[in-house]
Symmetry: C2
Subunit: 228 residues, 2 copies
């Protein structure tokens, strides 16, 4: 059974993702659910509490999938699984990354949770890269893998806000956002390419074909869309 | 002679960079200059006009340095010069990149100018990479260089806002921001490393030593600072 609390969270997430968190008030959320603002405030004192709970859900999801397989070597399929999970989790909470600076500026406790989340994710991410190295899927010394991981993190978390800032509001759509996010995975693949080995190198073409939109590089894709 | 208009721009830039554009009003700017708000409004109708003019100055500066040397092959010194220029221009207008989404959301004309600027910069950036390739300083086919350039752009323009979002306000300082920006150049070097050839590869250690803060990788540096 879905509780009112869960319905509020789900609807808020949907509205934030569609319209941007700044453009959605608690009244909009109550309206969309057909409940009174008073009922909403019974569950969440303000919008900040809704955002904090959505953030915690997102963070738990990311930390959850950044784990190494137990009692066996990592495979190419595991590596692909991380990509799929990154894409899905970023899509599900895309409002967060589009406007993160704003959200963190408003709420010091959210910033503390975010810092712990980044710290924790990067530690886990490094373990994952070391697991891939042990499995012969990537190559690089620790400093190289840490540099690569940091760049992957900044790219993955900044891409949505970068592309979103370029597309005029009149041209924005869910389908376009989804394509642009997929192209973001292609950009992560560009980052990783020089370090791939074994099966992850052999099957790179296949993975690129899955994520790159219309076989285009990102400059052509982006400016093609904007100039349309 | 410095005009009042120039003094307004210079003081606004300084205040925006120090305190963040959101925390600085036209009254603060007039106060800092010892002029009346009416005098300020005589030169700029609102804060948006000041931001737009500062943006144009920044954009002109970046486009200006993204040019190829005339009548000669590019050298390693040219390549280093691009880095210095990127670092200086980003530092001089750091308020822009810390809160870009917010600024563009507020002003559609600024968004149009920003899109043209990104488009123009990426075209020029590609010419620069092709110049480096012709000079034997980097290696990669066009698709590879375009992927690398896009990642460099996103990293360079997102790094300041990424690190800024992690550091608690009480810990922020100009010296820290400057160090973190320098470490951002180290992250760009990590991106480029696999593609460097000739002198740019031979002298990589020297360049890393110049930008990497305390010889640390960025994860260690960042979380060391935050946990202090």
């Amino acid at each position: 059974m879905t509780t009112t609390r869960q319905r509020i969270l789900r609807t808020s997430l949907d509205l934030f993702n569609r319209h941007g968190e700044r453009n959605v008030s608690t009244n909009h959320i109550a309206d969309a659910l057909g409940i009174s603002p008073g009922n909403l405030y019974y569950h969440f004192r303000n919008k900040g509490e809704i955002i904090a709970e959505l953030f915690d859900g997102y963070a738990a999801q990311v930390i959850g999938f950044l784990t190494l397989p137990e009692d066996r070597t990592m495979t190419w399929a595991d590596k692909t699984g991380y990509f799929e999970s990154i894409l899905d989790s970023m899509w599900a909470a895309r409002f967060l990354h589009r406007d993160l600076g704003h959200l963190l500026n408003q709420d010091d406790r959210l910033r503390d949770r975010y810092v712990s989340f980044v710290d924790h994710s990067l530690q886990r991410g490094f373990d994952v890269y070391c697991g891939m190295r042990a499995a012969g899927l990537v190559e690089g010394d620790d400093a190289t893998l840490r540099g690569l991981l940091m760049n992957t993190w900044v790219l993955a978390t900044s891409w949505a806000s970068f592309v979103h800032s370029l597309v005029p509001p009149a041209r924005q759509s869910e389908a376009l956002d989804r394509d642009l996010l997929s192209q973001g995975v292609y950009q992560i693949l560009c980052l990783e390419t020089p370090y791939l080995r074994g099966e992850s190198l052999e099957r790179l073409g296949e993975v690129i074909a899955r994520y790159q939109v219309d076989g285009q590089d990102s400059m052509s894709l982006l400016f093609g869309l904007i100039r349309q």
